[in-house]
């Protein structure tokens, strides 16, 4: 019944894995399945699984389903659930922790917009140490191809021109944009942070 990827049903194996690898994962077992988070989440109806379900699935040993779920990617960090959870679970943090873990294992859903955007944002930021808003926006518009990008650009034309007029958008940024002075130092910091994090989780970098 037990395979490497699918632990036995309702055994502690996957729960233990989550506890070891996911931010605030040790709190998952404290959920009392009241459903308050599910009812509080403004996006609840748009997800595959509510936080309540995700936590139950972890306890039921549904590793595959949890880690490939789009649920944790949909969390907007509104903190409604944390504010209301009677068991004080840091739900938002756990959701992001799960997303992060799924991403690192390469199990996170492909083409999930939040995930794609997050990757794009991260790459954009770590490249120069500054967020290049113009590139980020265009990258986002054109992620589904040229046609879709042009359509989206035209849709948002008014906003763009407004920003230009108000000097909130510099078209020259397209040529590379501003960056940190000590870029190499910054990259070293990021690499170090990752190394520390991986060590903490028992992963090799």
């Amino acid at each position: 019944m037990t395979t490497a990827n699918q632990p036995a049903a309702y055994r502690n194996d996957f729960l233990k894995e989550v506890e070891a690898n996911v931010e605030e994962g040790h709190m998952v077992k404290m959920c009392m399945q009241c459903g308050v988070c599910a009812g509080s989440c403004p996006l609840g109806s748009h997800w595959e699984h509510s936080p309540q379900k995700i936590f139950m699935m972890i306890r039921a040993g549904k590793r595959e389903e949890v880690l490939t779920s789009d649920a944790m990617w949909m969390c907007t960090s509104c903190y409604n659930c944390i504010a209301r959870c009677p068991r004080k679970l840091p739900i938002t943090h756990i959701m992001h922790g799960l997303a992060n873990y799924a991403h690192r294992l390469g199990l996170a859903p492909k083409g999930q917009p939040t995930r794609d955007f997050a990757v794009m944002f991260w790459n954009n930021l770590t490249k120069t140490g500054r967020v290049n808003e113009l590139k980020l926006t265009l990258g986002h518009y054109f992620k589904d191809g040229i046609g879709a990008g042009i359509k989206k650009g035209l849709e948002m034309k008014g906003v763009g021109l407004g920003l230009l007029k108000a000097k909130r958008l510099n078209p020259m940024e397209i040529l590379g944009g501003h960056k940190l002075q000590d870029l190499a130092g910054f990259h070293a910091i990021v690499a170090k942070a990752r190394e520390i994090e991986d060590r903490r989780r028992g992963l090799s970098s």
Binding site: M1, A8, A9, Y10, R11, N12, L15, K29, M30, M32, Q33, Q52, K53, M56, M57, R59, A60, K62, R87
Partner: protein
């Protein structure tokens, strides 16, 4: 007793004198009430006022006192004259505070006050100072049936208070279920871990107490008597019989776990790897804190607890109720596994996890320890490999699924060891199957009445552990499902109740709830027609029959509710200070306005325990109600004799509201069956109304709770409007 001398005292304080003509009241008390002495005072409950009354009692020979002022429920300490008979006319809560303000209401307000003074005087003249029951009984020992946790706790509580206790235990040893448990659910902070049962200590204390006698392997062959003078034949397995004389009895014989063999679909009785809580305790005791092993010796690596097994069942096949303790018990047992080895997979499968009070902390502690809780309903348990496969519906993930475990524990419920159901006919096979616990030699039957689901009745709303058999108390899971902590409270509470009962019996006074009442029912046997209504209707089994088939009152069993008095068709039952005449004379003494006066008169017969306080409270909160009503408190609606109704209708009252407590399985009646009896009797009033040519609406009944102050004002006002619509009674002037 010396010559009766009556006196009326009218208080003009609390604003009474501002709105009500006290001089007129004095005149009424003198001329119509025929009081020998009539005085008024501007502050009657003050030192001077009370002193005046006391002086008249001591020096003027006053034996009967009528106080017109506040409600009979107020200032009881100031107006405490135990050697005199006393009636109270409720001018403050009953008139001043409820009649609408303004001059236009002066007339009706005054009429109301006048009538209450008339009624107070009329009642007073029919009263006598209760002398107390001469048949006192002096035995103060307490018999405890059952030597488990509840029984031993009760016996020790009695012993510590200085009373001797006798424990009768059916099995060969003390301890009960708690004695067969490895640990108990914690009863003290931090509520994190199972706790020692404490049973060994209890047993040691019971054995070493010089005040406690223990009979093991014994049952009650027969129990006779009444509070203060019970005799219990204690029979041992070997056949010898000892008679224990005791003053009160505590029934603490506990529960039997629901038979798991009735749950074959969950493997109960068929699969050796499926046990119940008791079965797991046995395994835990064998393991002594180490990893628990199954019956076949295999170490348990995974276990699942199935909650509510055979409980909360609406199919009619199993127990319909929740036993309340089993969620916490399963949590405790899951901890046995986790504490011995955190790697054992433990799943608790529940539908609702019910851990009241500090149980929530215990639940959290189990989660910390890694017990997995899953909301699901098991469909089947089947053998699988070396263990069991539990097929179930996960109620959160909404899917049918399964899990495997070495051992399955069924959280079955508590079935009360309540003896025979005395309400079943003798030839009912279900009755024959059960063995009696108390073997009471009462005409009402051998055991305590059963209320619901096989549990012995105890007054669960107001007076837990008080049963319908005075001086016999039900504690622990025999009266409702419960855990050890609740049973402990029960046991101590019942011990104190038992002590109260034996002390009152020794003084010839009523036990609870009218604790200390000296009046008791007297029956004029010459007039008795042997109809047996009193015997049958007495909610407390206080009345037996003598050899000549006349009712035989056991006063120390009697609670003084008056239901027998209400039942008696020839009205030969009375109390010295409460009888057919004390109320009847009030009904007949009014100054009844004529049919064309547009002033109806509505009689309220209000239960003094709940409805009358609710009416007082309506006054206190100034909820205005009609000045056309006149309220008479009754001990219990069950004491209402139909003659009061006929008398009232014949004397021209336009309507009657009966206010009593809730009846049925969730009764709130102090006297359990009193209000039910009243309702039953009233169902026959329709005939009387028809005979008199009156509308059925002229007599109505309402169930009133003590909190219903707004509601009772509303009921009164609606009813008066309804009566105005029907028209006044044509019976006026004939009474």
């Amino acid at each position: 007793m010396s010559e009766m001398k009556t006196a009326a005292y009218i208080c003009s304080g609390c604003g009474i004198g501002d709105k009500i003509d006290v001089k007129s009241l004095e005149k009424i008390a003198t001329r119509e009430g025929k009081m020998a002495l009539v005085k008024s005072h501007e502050f009657l409950c003050g030192e001077a006022g009370v002193g005046m009354i006391r002086n008249d009692i001591d020096n003027e020979g006053v034996t009967h006192v009528m106080i017109a002022g506040c409600s009979r429920r107020a200032k009881t300490e100031a107006f405490h004259f135990p050697t005199t008979a006393m009636a109270r006319a409720n001018l403050r809560e009953g008139v001043l505070w409820v009649v609408a303000e303004g001059d236009e209401h002066d007339e009706v307000r005054q009429e109301m006050a006048d009538d209450y003074v008339r009624m107070g005087c009329a009642e007073l003249k029919k009263m006598q100072v209760p002398a107390g029951n001469p048949a006192t009984a002096q035995n103060k020992r307490i018999l405890v049936v059952g030597g488990g946790f509840s029984g031993m706790t009760a016996a020790l509580a009695a012993a510590e208070a200085g009373y001797e206790a006798v424990i009768v235990e059916k099995t060969g040893e003390l301890g009960g279920w708690a004695g067969k448990s490895w640990k108990r659910v914690p009863g003290a902070a931090p509520y994190a871990d199972p706790q020692d049962t404490g049973i060994a200590d209890l047993i040691a204390r019971v054995k070493s107490s010089p005040k406690i006698t223990v009979h093991l392997s014994s049952t009650l062959a027969e129990t006779r008597g009444a509070p203060g003078r019970f005799a219990a034949d204690v029979a041992t397995e070997s056949g010898s019989v000892t008679t224990e004389e005791v003053g009160a009895i505590i029934q603490a014989n506990g529960f039997t776990p629901y038979d798991i063999a009735k749950l074959p679909e969950l493997g109960g009785g068929t699969n050796p790897n499926v046990v119940d809580h008791a079965g797991l305790e046995a395994l835990a005791i064998a393991a002594k804190g180490d990893t628990i092993k199954r019956a076949d010796g295999k170490e348990v690596k995974s276990v699942v607890f199935l909650q509510c097994a055979g409980q909360r069942d609406d199919s009619g096949k199993h127990l319909p109720y929740c036993s309340g303790h089993c969620c916490a018990t399963s949590i405790k047992q899951a901890m046995y596994f986790k504490d011995a080895n955190p790697n054992v997979d433990t799943v608790v499968m529940y539908q609702d996890l019910r851990v009241p009070g500090m149980g929530e902390d215990f639940y959290r502690s189990a989660q910390q320890k890694g017990v997995v809780f899953t909301k699901g309903k098991a469909a089947a348990v089947e053998p699988a490999g070396d263990g069991c496969r539990v097929a179930f519906r996960d109620l959160i993930l909404d899917e049918d699924t399964a899990l495997e475990a070495d051992l399955v524990v069924l959280a079955t419920g508590q079935v009360a060891n309540s003896g025979v159901n005395i309400e079943l006919p003798d030839d009912d096979p279900a009755k024959a199957q059960k063995t009696s616990v108390l073997n009471l030699a009462y005409r009402q039957g051998k055991d305590l009445p059963i209320l619901k689901h096989g549990f012995n009745d105890s007054h669960f709303i107001c007076f837990p552990y008080e049963t319908r058999r005075t001086g016999i108390y039900a504690v622990g899971p025999v009266r409702r499902p419960m855990d050890a902590q609740q049973a402990e409270e029960d046991a101590v509470g019942a011990a104190l109740k038992a002590i109260q009962a034996v002390e009152n019996a020794s003084l010839g006074r009523a036990a609870h709830p009218r604790s200390g009442d000296l009046s008791f029912p007297k029956v004029r046997l010459e007039g008795c027609t042997q109809c047996k209504r009193c015997t049958v209707e007495c909610p407390f089994g206080a009345i037996d029959e003598d050899e000549k088939r006349f009712p035989l009152f056991n006063e120390s069993r009697c609670r003084r509710c008056g239901t027998c008095m209400g039942a008696c068709p020839v009205r030969v039952i009375s109390f010295e200070n409460y009888n057919v005449d004390t109320v009847g004379s009030q009904i007949k003494c009014l100054d009844m306005p004529d049919e064309f006066s547009e002033k109806p008169r509505i009689l309220i017969l209000a239960c003094e325990n709940d409805a009358y306080p609710a009416l007082d409270m309506a006054g206190l909160q100034r909820h205005v109600y009609s000045a056309f009503v006149r309220a008479i408190p009754v001990r219990c609606l069950g004491s209402t004799n139909l003659v009061w109704i006929t008398d009232a209708l014949n004397s021209g009252w336009d309507g009657i509201i009966m206010m009593g407590c809730k009846k049925g399985d969730d009764y709130q009646c102090h006297f359990v069956k009193g209000s039910e009896m009243a309702h039953y009797r009233l169902s026959k009033v329709d005939d009387t109304l028809k005979q008199l040519g009156l509308e059925p609406e002229r007599v109505v009944t309402h169930e009133i709770a003590i909190t219903d102050n707004v509601r009772c004002a509303q009921i009164i006002n609606d009813y008066v409007a309804q009566i105005m619509e029907i028209g006044l009674s044509p019976m006026k002037g004939f009474g």
